[in-house]
């Protein structure tokens, strides 16, 4: 008896991969990271594979490294696998050619994902798989969670028999992250499927000095070709082996698969050929169309490589007249997308050979769908069939978008649906922080595993890391569910945050008569009057039943804080009647115990209390028969916003991005900066309020604010002439600006409420020590006044950066500089963004930023909005992201380019002296741009130059006009996290630092891969628990700074703003001024540390005070002056290490799960700290060596 389990595609795949392998090399990349995490966690827990061994799971520094290690492990005879996606798969390609060329049995499990082109996308399509199709690997594609488990095994068995390596692929997110009830393969099934003799043969092919061979020779023109053809018979055999393996699998499990499966009318005339989860949608649609006797069918491609012509031809009905091949990828410049070309070739070959089932070539068209997880719905499938019915169907079409430029898209009927009433379809709108998704996953498990019903869940998240919204799409029903697309009409809609009714089209999906559950601060008698008109209209017109609960109040009373998950889940079960109410509550409680029991009794009790108190607070609303509200939903974007923001950005923000036409999008991925300022998110429930009389104007709050929402300016009387009533100011505490007023303002609608500013504020009321110069207060009552104040504040001129009245070399003065990075979607209380913001304040108007993929590229460049912005002169950071692995090189390339263009501009100035004027030419060529005033003066000269050149028609003048801005100093910043700097990008970073070129590297060191969910990097400290280091990191943190210092020509600093903000400022200024490569490593507290983010700065200080994080600056110029270049800015440990590490869950976890190991690693960590401090101290007193 096999178990029914409710899991996602990653879990399903990893389960089989773990059981059937001995070595697993892993590296995080969305959406495949979970597979590696599971493997690591299972290995840490001692779970065994089918041979009774715990597989060796090894994290690598990159996917390239993972593939290399796989190659090695395979060559030595172990059954080996890895998991990846997208760019990761691309990095594996060189090894994949080798592995295939050596006929080596292995399976790579790939959650197929978009490859970055004009933009990065973490979502699913087949562009990565298609990029790997020439490697010589077999490609077996799963359509669903069940198939992901089944095909993981079929591919493993087939590769062992065939000796051809396999990619086992499934759609990223749609399959990798969809939760479904499936039948779990038993260990006996797995054993039965694996050919043990082939396993032994594989092992015996492994390199061994006991039977030495040489593999991987270099060959010459005489024999390479022949040798390359020697594998042909193995490839020829693959289709047969897979077919045979599928047959055996079918006999074992009852699930029959074929290389190509045909579904539909036996006499179909119109056929779609498709691969991946879209095939399920196509089958569902075919079912509906068959009801109206349409002659349609679908061919599901399972084994894409080797492509078996005969097997394809065998399944196509002889009646086929037209075929649409749907590719989930785009190959610009090709005749058509890969599968389209394959099908045409196959048909052509079949017709030529007389093996085709028809005598005439069907009309074949190709189309693209679903790029970057674009929804693919039955309506789109129908649109394709409708197109096939036309006499001249559109070829090379797209479906799912509105292409109003090249007019290739198909019209789709938005009202076509195949959803049936026997399926409960529920949509839940929640916040990431309220636990909605977790509860829904739990509900699916309850329904899937405790009832005969089938269940499916898919979860949509927005791209913000603070205040992020989630939408859960759940289906339950008596029959297997095959609907890999979002719920289109829901019979249950839950809105877990009341303010969503004014922000999102939460009831758009509500079916007639649907139940609506609203978490509302208003009771059943008053809620109606507080709903906006559009919501009331939907409720009345569609006859919806409305229920309310003040879940936040129930959560507060039961100690649950903001986590309303269990409460809303209980309401869902009570209202949806998926199972009897009492039984549901019992199941929920059991699930709570099962999920949280190991975290302690109190957690269980608290959650149970919340469940128990739910139903007495759930009420049905007596819905009036007519709409009474006049309140309309106000567009969140100001009418003052630029056209692009109003027409495009606003649509994306409002959740209508799918409707944005092709013509609205930039053709090359170039976007305007400064658009985050237009999105007023209002996510903070409390905001800081300034007490001007207590403030000492130190600027620490401005410095630490992760979202640049608290800012200071010095205003003249004239500047304040039109200030709103209540606009706060205080006499400026600057000798140089004694006549000005200091004003500190909060962007109340952009604040995330993290409280870092209040935490850092040192000014306290002498009569009430608990009151500071900043105190948190509820946002709502302050919103209008605050917004007006902020608007006015922005209009007050910023102090010119080039002023000579003060220098921006201390925090108090630096706070007055305009941040050119604002309102990003980073986590509330983020430890990285304050550094980035400070860099933009100091150098933003002359910076080009190369940003490694990771958190900083997501909050820095993920649509809809861009946080990098411009100053009043229109200058600001120019930002770009290349890849994860190449960021240092990318930045170096930018530097080389700028230097080259500057050099050419200088040549042109020199050559054009006569026209430009000697004096101006000399001034430009000899400008001292080390200080802001010098840069400013140069920019003014460039303006003069441009004026002169504007009237000159010569080619040289035109060239110089185009290049003249390059004559002003530019700084190239290279931003990235520790995953990039310590691991995947280290080789490049090392090379770039060694190049001597003038680039500035800022490493935002969170000591884990934060963006992908906290996997260990080489920056992870010893003793910390992280994913991929579930048993605690056993090795010491890599000393990146010391490695860079070894060159003696690189400026190196290690900083921690929370420990010493002055040192942070000093290091960044020195690094930027250094005429060569510089690297600044910044301790960045992170949500992945398991800390109270409001105390992030305290954690930074603890890290430094415990000696765990040293502060230092290494300036090679000092060596040139005969001084020691290394200056240690922090003291020896002054507090026990435990005071620091055990205030963070990443360390506490190990103490709680494995205290003996924790004690051992603690001791080693203490030794690390002592040793490092000794070494650095010695280095700091050694005689200097010139660079």
């Amino acid at each position: 008896m096999r178990r029914q389990v409710t899991i996602d595609g990653n879990d399903a795949t990893a389960y089989v991969a773990y059981k059937t392998n001995e070595v697993m090399t892993i590296y995080p990349i969305t959406p495949s990271s979970t597979m590696g995490e599971l493997a690591d966690a299972w290995a840490a827990a001692g779970d065994k594979n089918i041979w009774g061994n715990v597989p060796l799971v090894q994290e690598m520094q990159s996917e390239g490294g993972a593939a290399g290690a796989v190659h090695g492990a395979l060559q030595a005879g172990a059954l080996t696998t890895t998991f990846t996606a997208s760019q990761g798969l691309l990095l594996m390609i060189p090894n994949m050619f080798k592995i295939a060329g050596e006929l080596t049995s292995t399976v790579f499990h790939v959650a197929a994902r978009c490859i970055a082109t004009h933009a990065l996308s973490i979502f699913g399509d087949h562009s990565d798989i298609m990029a790997a199709r020439s490697t010589g690997w077999a490609i077996l594609f799963s359509d669903s969670v069940q198939e992901a488990m089944d095909f993981a095994l079929i591919s493993q068995a087939a590769t062992l028999k065939a000796r051809v390596p396999f990619i086992h692929a499934f759609d990223g997110f749609r399959t990798s992250h969809e939760v479904r009830k499936i039948e779990e393969l038993s260990v006996e099934d797995i054993r039965a499927m694996l050919p043990q003799d082939a396993v032994r043969a594989h092992r015996l092919r492994g390199l061994s000095p006991d039977r030495p061979v040489l593999r991987g020779s270099a060959q010459n023109p005489d024999v390479f070709f022949q040798a390359r053809e020697a594998c042909n018979l193995y490839y020829d055999a693959v289709p047969g082996i897979v077919e045979e393996t599928m047959q055996k699998f079918g006999e074992l499990t009852g699930r029959a698969y074929h290389l190509f499966d045909y579904y539909g009318a036996p006499d179909a005339e119109r056929v779609i050929v498709i691969m991946g989860s879209g095939a399920e949608t196509a089958q569902e649609t075919v079912d509906r169309l068959l009801e109206s006797d349409e002659k349609v069918g679908v061919v599901i491609v399972r084994l894409f490589r080797p492509f078996s012509v005969s097997h394809l031809l065998a399944v196509l009905p002889a009646t086929t007249k037209s075929i649409a091949v749907l590719d989930r990828t785009k190959e610009p410049g090709a005749i058509g997308e890969p599968m389209y070309q394959d099908v045409i070739t196959a048909l052509s070959e079949g017709l030529s050979a007389g093996t085709a089932p028809f005598e005439k070539m069907p009309h074949v068209i190709g189309g693209r769908y679903g790029l970057s997880s674009k929804e693919f719905t039955p309506a789109m499938v129908k649109a394709v069939y409708d197109e096939l019915a036309k006499s001249a169907p559109k070829n090379h079409f797209t479906v799912g978008i509105n292409d109003d430029v090249s007019f290739r898209s198909l019209e789709v009927d938005p009202n076509f649906s195949v959803e049936t009433d026997d399926v409960v379809r529920a949509v839940f709108w929640g916040l990431g922080s309220d636990g909605t998704v977790g509860a829904n996953k739990n509900s699916i498990k309850i329904i899937g595993e405790d009832t005969p019903n089938y269940a499916q869940g898919y979860f949509v998240y927005d791209s913000k890391k603070s205040g992020s919204m989630t939408v859960s799409h759940l289906r339950f029903g008596p029959k297997p569910i095959r609907s890999p697309y979002l719920v289109q009409t829901a019979n249950f809609v839950a809105v877990h945050q009341f303010d969503f009714v004014d922000r999102y089209p939460v009831l758009d999906t509500a079916a007639k008569g649907a139940i609506v559950l609203l978490n509302s601060p208003f009771d059943k008698d008053t809620v109606w009057d507080n709903l906006p008109k559009p919501i009331q209209e939907v409720i009345v017109n569609r006859g919806l039943s409305l229920y309310v609960i003040d879940a936040l109040e129930v959560a507060r009373k039961t100690g649950m804080g903001g986590r309303i998950n269990g409460i809303m889940q209980t309401c869902f079960f009570a209202l949806s009647k998926v199972m009897p109410r009492d039984e549901a509550i019992e199941r929920i409680k059991y699930a709570i115990k099962k999920s949280y029991g190991k975290r302690g009794e109190e957690v269980v009790k608290q959650n149970w209390r919340a469940v128990d108190e739910t139903l007495e607070n759930l009420f049905q609303v007596n819905v009036p028969s007519a709409v009474t509200s006049t309140r309309v939903v106000v567009d969140a974007i100001s009418s003052k916003a630029p056209d692009f923001v109003r027409n495009v950005t606003a649509e994306i923000i409002a959740g209508r991005g799918d409707g944005v036409p092709v013509s609205a999008m930039p053709v090359d991925g170039t976007f305007p900066t400064g658009t985050a300022a237009w999105e007023k998110r209002n996510i903070a429930t409390e905001i800081p309020v300034w007490e001007e009389n207590l403030c000492i104007q130190c600027g620490k709050c401005v410095l630490v604010c992760p979202h640049a929402v608290i800012r200071a300016k010095l205003a003249s009387e004239a500047d304040l002439a039109g200030a709103p009533d209540g606009f706060k100011t205080a006499p400026a505490k600057w000798r140089e600006f004694a006549d000005r007023k200091y004003t500190l303002q909060v962007a109340v609608e952009d604040c995330t409420g993290c409280t870092l500013c209040v935490e850092v504020c040192p000014a306290k009321d002498k009569s009430h020590a608990g009151r500071k110069a900043l105190n948190m207060a509820p946002q709502r009552p302050l919103r209008e006044q605050g917004a007006a104040d902020w608007d006015y504040f922005l209009g007050i001129p910023d102090l010119p950066h080039h002023t000579e009245l003060i220098r921006f070399n201390n925090i108090k003065n630096a706070q007055l500089l305009q941040p050119l990075f604002e309102f990003s979607g980073a986590c509330s209380g983020c430890g990285e963004t304050p550094y980035i913001k400070l860099v933009t304040q100091l150098f933003g108007d002359r910076s080009v930023i190369a940003n490694a993929t990771g958190c900083s590229s997501i909050y820095g460049g993920n649509l809809p909005t861009t946080p990098y912005t411009t100053n009043s002169a229109g200058r600001g950071p120019a930002w770009s992201n290349s890849l994860f692995e190449d960021n240092a090189e990318f930045g170096l390339g930018i530097r080389l380019s700028l230097d080259m263009q500057e050099g050419y501009a200088r040549t042109l100035v020199e050559a054009g002296r006569a026209k430009i004027g000697e004096e101006l030419a000399d001034a430009i060529l000899n400008a001292d741009q080390t200080e802001e005033s010098g840069i400013h003066a140069q920019r003014e000269r460039i303006e003069q130059l441009k004026a002169i050149l504007a009237t000159d028609d010569s080619q040289e003048a035109k060239d110089l006009l185009a290049l003249s801005d390059q004559l002003a100093r530019k700084t190239v910043w290279i931003f990235g996290g520790d995953g990039w700097a310590y691991d995947i990008g280290y080789g490049g970073l090392d090379h770039v630092l060694a190049s001597g070129k003038n680039v500035k590297v800022l490493v935002l060191d969170t000591e884990v891969y934060s963006n992908t969910g906290g996997q260990a990097s080489k920056a992870t400290s010893r003793g910390a628990v992280a994913k991929f280091a579930a048993g605690g990191k056993t090795s010491a943190k890599k000393d990146l700074g010391k490695m860079a210092m070894a060159y003696r020509s690189v400026y190196v600093a290690q900083i921690a703003m929370g420990a010493d903000d002055a040192q942070t400022l000093r290091a960044l200024r020195e690094a930027e001024a250094y005429p060569g490569p510089a690297i600044v490593i910044a301790y960045s507290h992170c949500i992945a540390h398991g800390i109270d983010m409001a105390k992030g700065l305290t954690q930074q200080k603890l890290a430094v005070d415990s000696g765990s994080w040293m502060l230092y600056r290494y300036d090679p110029r000092l060596g040139d002056e005969g001084k020691n270049p290394l200056h240690i800015d922090s003291k020896p440990a002054s507090i026990p290490l435990t005071d620091y590490i055990y205030s963070e869950m990443r360390y506490q976890m190990l103490r709680k799960s494995n205290p003996e190991e924790a004690a051992l690693l603690l001791q080693l960590r203490q030794e690390d700290i002592a040793t490092r401090f000794d070494e650095y101290t010695r280095m700091a007193v050694e005689e200097p060596v010139k660079a």
Binding site: A41, G435, K441, S463, E602, G1013, V1025
Partner: protein, 332 residues
Amino acid sequence: MDLTTHYIGLDLKNPIVASASPLSRSLDGLRRIEDAGAGAVVLQSLFEEQIAHESLALDHYLSVGTESHNEALSYFPDADSYDVGPEKYLELIRSGKENISIPIIASLNGVSTGGWTRYASLMEKAGADGIELNMYYLPTNVNVSGAEIEKRYLETLDAVIKSVSIPVAVKLSPYFSSTAHMASCLAREGARAAVLFNRFYQPDFDLEKLEVVPSLEFSRSYDLRLPLHWTAILFGHVPLDLAITTGVHTHFDVLKCMMAGANVVEIASELLHNGLGRIEEILDGVRGWMEEFEYESVRQMHGSMSQLRCPDPGAFERANYMKVLQSFRTPA
């Protein structure tokens, strides 16, 4: 020289009990305490609030930020099990009982009745020789009367006593309106001893930062006065064994405690500050003093200076306070 004493039904080779401190956190620590010559050991308190807090904190930090972003559905691997309950503590009792021979007294801290009192029974099952119920509670609520607090104490004691058959001592605060009456009530509820007194957490101020600073300072011999006074008053008046747990640093302090009526002294600060070797030094001092003044056993001096038996019972009363005040003269 007979140093043996009897406390909550246990025979101790001497009256020095190593009080709850980091020294008794591990089996190795327990071994060292026994080797140093202590008569018994009291383990650190198992805190009701701490267990709940650790459990909720673990849950919070494993949950916060999860299921919020496509790329990071969680931030930590979830281990198979966590040490968030009393298991580690119970294991220390178990291994202690297997490896050392002096009595092990477990300490349980809490002030509410409820599920946590079952920990007392788990302590008993793990082999504890007795339980010290550490009634550490700071009554800050202005709406809660002293009578209510006392009632809560007694209910808690009752719940614990009903769940175990091993002896239960109660560690008290010095701030009862009527300490003697409270002690008498505890005895009536079934407590076997009163441990005098709990030292409340008394934070300090940082004047420059205007911050309340946590501080826990070692006791000094002077701090002995308060428990010594009350031990002397309670001895013989309430049917309880008595333990003094604050301000015992020298052999003179031990002798005073015995004479006041204490069955044992619980020492922590002195051992933390000057090492476990102090136990033997203090015992040597006791022996030497007894030899010099020709005492045969500590039992001989037990309660000899209590209010019941001392030459001047009025010395413990208000009249003596007046006398002391009147004897004070402003220095010239």
